[in-house]
Symmetry: C2
Subunit: 517 residues, 2 copies
Amino acid sequence: MPNIAIVPAPASVTELPGDGFTLGAQSSISATGDSAEQLSAAAAVGEYLGELLRPRTGFELAVNPLGADAAAPGIRLVIDDSAAPGYSLHADADGITVTAASAEGLFSGVQTLRQLFPARIEAALDGSTRVSDDVEWTTPAVQIEDAPRFAYRGAMLDVARNVFSVAAVKRYIDDIALLKLNVLHLHLTDDQGWRLQIDSWPRLTEIGASTSVLGGGGFYTKADYTEIVDYAASRFITLVPEIDLPGHTNAALASYPELNIGGVATEPYRGVEVGFSTVDTTADATWRFVEDVVRELAEITPGPYIHLGGDESLQLSSAEFSAFVSRASEIGAASGKTVIGWHEMGQSRELAPGTIGQYWDFVTPRADAAPHTLSFVEQGGQVIMSPSDVSYLDMHYPDTDRLGQLWADGPTSVEEAYSWEPTAIVTGLDEAAILGVEAPVWTETLDGIDDVEFMVFPRLAPIAEIAWSPAPAGVPGAAPDAATRSFAEFSPRLAAFVERLDALGVRYHRSPELSRR
Amino acid sequence: MPNIAIVPAPASVTELPGDGFTLGAQSSISATGDSAEQLSAAAAVGEYLGELLRPRTGFELAVNPLGADAAAPGIRLVIDDSAAPGYSLHADADGITVTAASAEGLFSGVQTLRQLFPARIEAALDGSTRVSDDVEWTTPAVQIEDAPRFAYRGAMLDVARNVFSVAAVKRYIDDIALLKLNVLHLHLTDDQGWRLQIDSWPRLTEIGASTSVLGGGGFYTKADYTEIVDYAASRFITLVPEIDLPGHTNAALASYPELNIGGVATEPYRGVEVGFSTVDTTADATWRFVEDVVRELAEITPGPYIHLGGDESLQLSSAEFSAFVSRASEIGAASGKTVIGWHEMGQSRELAPGTIGQYWDFVTPRADAAPHTLSFVEQGGQVIMSPSDVSYLDMHYPDTDRLGQLWADGPTSVEEAYSWEPTAIVTGLDEAAILGVEAPVWTETLDGIDDVEFMVFPRLAPIAEIAWSPAPAGVPGAAPDAATRSFAEFSPRLAAFVERLDALGVRYHRSPELSRR
């Protein structure tokens, strides 16, 4: 077992001489900060850590927001204005100190801290795990300096094709927080279902929410949505809501005839085809609809982004499509939010300035995917990289077709999910033009969060490492001593990571690519 | 490993001398019957069996509805008017013959037949299982005579507290078919959600379906409902829909003010308390509501039963409650269906004749549970036994509190789920008065079918055996040579059963009570 096995890999890990820290019944969690606000924020991160560590250890782990006991052996969470970006972590026999300039940095440090303890420290204390009394909860002695490579590190969950409870989404938020992801993109609408209450267009949920691929319907009330937003915020995760336009809209088209070319409502749809639906881009009703939906969505979305789709619009001419997304992006920007669109939206040269593109073509771009993607940068925006043949985590695993699909260039192995580089896909798209990396999971075949976890783990861990860890050797701007990204090096860390999933009760695919430890 | 390990235990199992049957690439499934209709029905059961056995074996297993190849080694499914109730099964080196007087009997026989083959014959052929080329698919040589003890063998799924996709319900139907259960009771409405489209009262789903305990909403359209009914019928399972009245109605009360005492709609509810809601039993609107819902429900329900609840009505006086359930039962009966109600409904002495009671008090009845239950029999009906302290499968397991609740007299062990006798609970309720046995699973804490499977398996297997297998020694009417029900005898068969769940990918709790084989 490697002594230190952290996913995603920190920027710098230095093993220290001497013993590490042993958590004991007398240990406390102290929080310090330069202001009352920082103190309170650090204490909240400490409370989160306490909730992780208390059940299995049985220790009290009181959170001391004054930091007065800082001399006692324990965990010290420090917010310090002068700290470097990211966090630093020092662990030795006297305790563990995590220092960051912000609560978000501390929270990232806590995700590393978790992984320094044996995985079973996070097992539920429900009597199902045998507990030996002589367990020692000891970390290695280590100094870590760490900061994220990309600002946007996302996971997308498709809650349109099938229905997921609020509790399921919260569980997914906890799952992705462990990997230092900081964005949850919810794909809220598609042909098969409209999943968000919109007061001014109630039939969107009365009719548009009544279907799903696997049968039955459902939607989130605004109270549900806010509950998700708030829970994500408590994990320093920004919610990015997506309303997919002008295609992927059958659920809306079935709800309101006036959105349709020809003015006749479509039938509700439960199949898995794409590209067949579009709103009537010339209808006044369509623009009232877009304005109302964007306004109501922006009102309940504290984060900076709203995603307006733009993918696979196959029923419109290029000119019609460009005109639509241009106007839609302006409506989005007027709501005070930065618009994100799938890369096809870059066909328009008249997007709201700063619109963000999300690339979902393959690692080797086809057709116009590259120029459409560069178009966002040329219009003052950045790009999120989600190459579908390596980061769409609903693709089959190579060794099982139990769940998922195949269309994105066949199955995706764990090694393939790890073996790509965001700056090496679209020529001319350099590090500064890339806002971040996101792994979507589409749910046509997935029923509930267990199925999602099966598809996503372990492959989300490689994606998170690409998003967080330093640029590898060979990438322009990489550190002079940067290592080459190596699956052989990653693999034992991944094996340690899935031990933690086992302890947490998170489902994952026991892929033959997981090396034994 | 016991050679023959079938759950639920057949009435009679005789090991035969000589070899059993080995399924091979040349094996076929032949179907015979006394009429074209029977031939077609037998062939449909054969096709179901073929779908189970083909993926892992890779054999063609053609279904021959003419029975012309009956001489060839293979599986023969025979419908014969003169056959005894239930089915008989004969397996030797020449083949396996299942004989029954009906397709339903054949289907029961096929569930036994599955369990004669090694469990791994049902594993998905998805590359995730290692296949050795020398596997022989051989059964023991055996003669089995079998018929169910009780006509009604049910499982109840609460789809009101949380939302389950149609696909999830279908999976549960397949799960329970393996145990020869023949009723799926869907608890469609409760305080936290109304889950069925009712055209004449659309706000029931527009508002009443928008909540669930774990967040998010959802409901079944009539098309969804019919899809479930039809799938259940293909497994010889009758769907029993429940509309819970007059309590457990907050979702309806939040949708329509006129159903409320005082005429003001309640707030939607996501908590887990019970007993606080009631419709206004004196309002004309309430009776229009009951008549409309019952009429629409009966129209889409081909089975003989509708369940009208009646439990935990704590806001009405006994007289008010009795008057309500009396009139509701008459409305149900007028729809052409036999009404089922929880045992409290027996407070009324003016139920529609033949109304069925469902007992959910403890194995040792408290308060008025026994007289209320006997009341159904006195009014010409029968009783379904669901004692909550042994058959409510959402109760905690003794060794984990990960999911479920505790209120029904604490946790329920696998042995407790096995160690009760339906005729020994309510004094005076004899074998003939008991229509059957049902195991409910309430879903306040359960998110998706994986959570349901975890709570239900392995404990549903004991309940199914109580419902199907012959009365044990000591029960009036038991066979003279009947054995005593013994967990020590059951336990190795249960261990064999969960091996099949492993092969099928059905989740279950790896209880320490599961003996190793």
